[in-house]
């Protein structure tokens, strides 16, 4: 089973600044980790995943995530935030065929 935790309910960042949305995981076995984004009144959109290989995973819309085994973390990052990045972000781990989602982190990017 794989569970994830998102320690921050909300992250605020100014446009143009780097952003980080935190996720930690707890797994038995190999971790399979995902990031999704949800815009208001929309479904979840896949951003990126870590299965194996390079610790730095690049995804959609300029996002990337760093897998850190020693810290059991999988933080989502972007070098320069856009106002349009404001949304709800979910980290997820896999148990069987299901995804176990964190509670979500609301990202607000201000102009």
């Amino acid at each position: 089973a794989q569970s994830v935790a998102q320690p921050e309910d909300q992250v605020n960042v100014a446009e143009g600044n780097p952003l980080t949305v935190k996720c930690t995981y707890s797994v038995s076995g190999n971790p399979y980790l995902f990031w999704y984004v949800q815009y208001p009144n929309r479904g979840l959109q896949f951003l990126l995943k870590y299965i194996t290989g390079d610790n730095l995973v690049k995804g959609s819309y300029g996002f990337e995530a760093e897998f850190n085994k020693s810290q059991t973390s999988f933080h989502l990052k972007k070098p320069s935030a856009l106002v349009s990045d404001s949304a709800l972000y979910f980290c997820a781990g896999r148990t069987g065929y299901a995804l176990n989602f964190g509670k979500g982190t609301s990202l607000l990017v201000t102009p």
């Binding site: 896949f46 979910f90 065929y97 995804l99 964190g102």
Partner: protein, 118 residues
């Protein structure tokens, strides 16, 4: 190409009524999933289909909930005798399943059905 579609987008019903929620997955995706999103519980897994069979029903919250999938495509989630605590957004997702093993592929989500039980 077309994504996952769900209908209706919104459903308001009275307590005690039955409701049916429909999901049309991405063409060619053999795996289909139902999740529920609510303020109090976050995102919860309900059920998984591989083809027309459901090997994992572990997330269904009660026997009032059932789901079926026909022709390896469309799925219907049925909630009988709805209760107010069933109010939530019901999300459907689909994915490829890699041949010979577990699916490591990302799941693609539909826009959801917002269910309100009065």
């Amino acid at each position: 190409g077309a994504g996952v579609s769900q209908s209706p987008s919104n459903k308001v019903t009275e307590k005690g009524k039955d409701v049916e929620l429909r999901c049309d997955p991405i063409s060619g995706h053999t795996a289909l999933y139902w999740y529920r999103q609510s303020l109090g519980q976050g995102l919860e897994f309900l059920i998984y289909f591989q083809g027309n069979s459901a090997p994992d029903k572990s997330g269904l919250p009660s026997d009032r909930f059932s789901a079926e999938r026909t022709g390896g495509s469309v799925s219907t989630l049925t909630i009988q005798r709805t209760q107010q605590e069933d109010s939530a957004v019901y999300l459907c997702a689909s994915s490829f399943r890699l041949a010979g093993g577990s699916s490591y592929n990302e799941q693609f989500f539909g826009p959801g059905t917002r269910l309100t039980v009065l």
